[in-house]
């Protein structure tokens, strides 16, 4: 097993920062999953891929756009028509999917080294993320488990709401340090803790 090296290392400053005198507004962390896998179904094969996600990861996806299931160990969500992101704490998920998803059904792409997973949690999580992304973060239109694809300037992001006040963001690894720095600046106003 190769030791993971975080792109955030040079800017990683654990502890409380910004205006936290009246309490911490958001907790920022890197979840470092062992596997981040993208699955794409050919048109008409979406249900077969959803079935494979259940078989391999044990995660049941609800039907519909952006539907997802959160979990501490494994999580999955739809982020585009017929496309899904599946995340596992452990390594080896891509190999398991490559065996379970035939090329006639869809494709498997291992993004474990291509994405950085950032968790934004706390009472002001919606407020801080709304500074970056022009999407509706209210729980009514963005329920727990659901996924969204959106963009902050050139930084493409896939976001899953994993708890009422918690979001997991998947950004390109090469943009992660820049995005993290911006995230810290945007969080200073409400007080933030890196942990």
């Amino acid at each position: 097993m190769v030791e993971q090296e975080s792109p955030l290392k040079p800017v990683w400053k654990p502890g409380s920062h910004g205006n936290f005198a009246n309490g911490v507004g958001v907790y920022l962390s890197e979840t470092m999953p062992g596997s981040i896998v993208q699955l794409a179904a050919w048109p008409g094969e979406e249900k077969a891929v959803i079935a494979a996600i259940k078989k391999v990861a044990g995660v049941t996806l609800p039907d519909g756009a952006g539907g997802g299931a959160p979990g501490d160990v494994k999580a999955a969500f739809g982020f585009a028509p017929g496309k899904f992101l599946v995340v596992d704490e452990k390594e080896g998920l891509a190999e398991a999917f490559a065996k379970a998803v035939d090329i006639s059904v869809g494709t498997v792409t291992d993004l474990s080294h291509g994405r950085t997973a950032i968790r934004v949690a706390g009472p002001k999580a919606e407020w801080v993320l709304a500074k970056f992304f022009a999407i509706d973060f209210s729980q009514v239109s963005f329920p727990v488990g659901a996924g969204r694809s959106t963009v902050h300037h050139d930084v493409f992001a896939q976001i899953q709401r994993t708890a009422p006040t918690q979001f997991d963001l998947y950004v390109f690894r090469s943009f992660a340090r820049s995005f993290w720095t911006a995230l810290c600046h945007a969080s200073a106003e409400v007080g933030y803790e890196v942990r």
């Binding site: 048109p43 756009a65 982020f79 585009a80 028509p81 496309k83 022009a134 969204r148 694809s149 959106t150």
Partner: protein, 100 residues
């Protein structure tokens, strides 16, 4: 301007890339019909009013969309996936996204 992506819902125009006039029919790649290629590359309806367009949700689900936009008011009256491109007159050669 907001475009309501059939997958993602209403999103700001900054998440989209314009992919051009949606009224064109691409000739068969093997065709040497100069008139047909000229029409495909240069001829535009340029209407004042409703216009069929192709947009990509490049800052979202990345799907290509067929959009009807009013060039005068920017009112968007319909949005669908371009892969369901049944609205176009087919030359009998063009494959839809599903068949291609």
């Amino acid at each position: 301007m907001l475009i309501t992506c059939p997958y993602c819902g209403p999103r700001d125009v900054s998440e989209y890339s314009y992919q051009g006039d949606g009224n064109r029919t691409r000739p068969d790649p093997a065709s040497t019909d100069q008139e047909a290629w000229n029409a495909y590359v240069y001829d535009r309806l340029n209407p004042r009013g409703e216009h069929h367009e192709i947009w990509q949700h490049s800052g979202g689900c990345r799907a290509h969309l067929k959009v009807t936009r009013n060039t005068l008011t920017h009112v968007i009256s319909s949005v669908g996936f371009a892969r369901d491109a049944g609205h176009r007159k087919s030359d009998g050669h063009r494959k839809t996204g599903a068949e291609a």
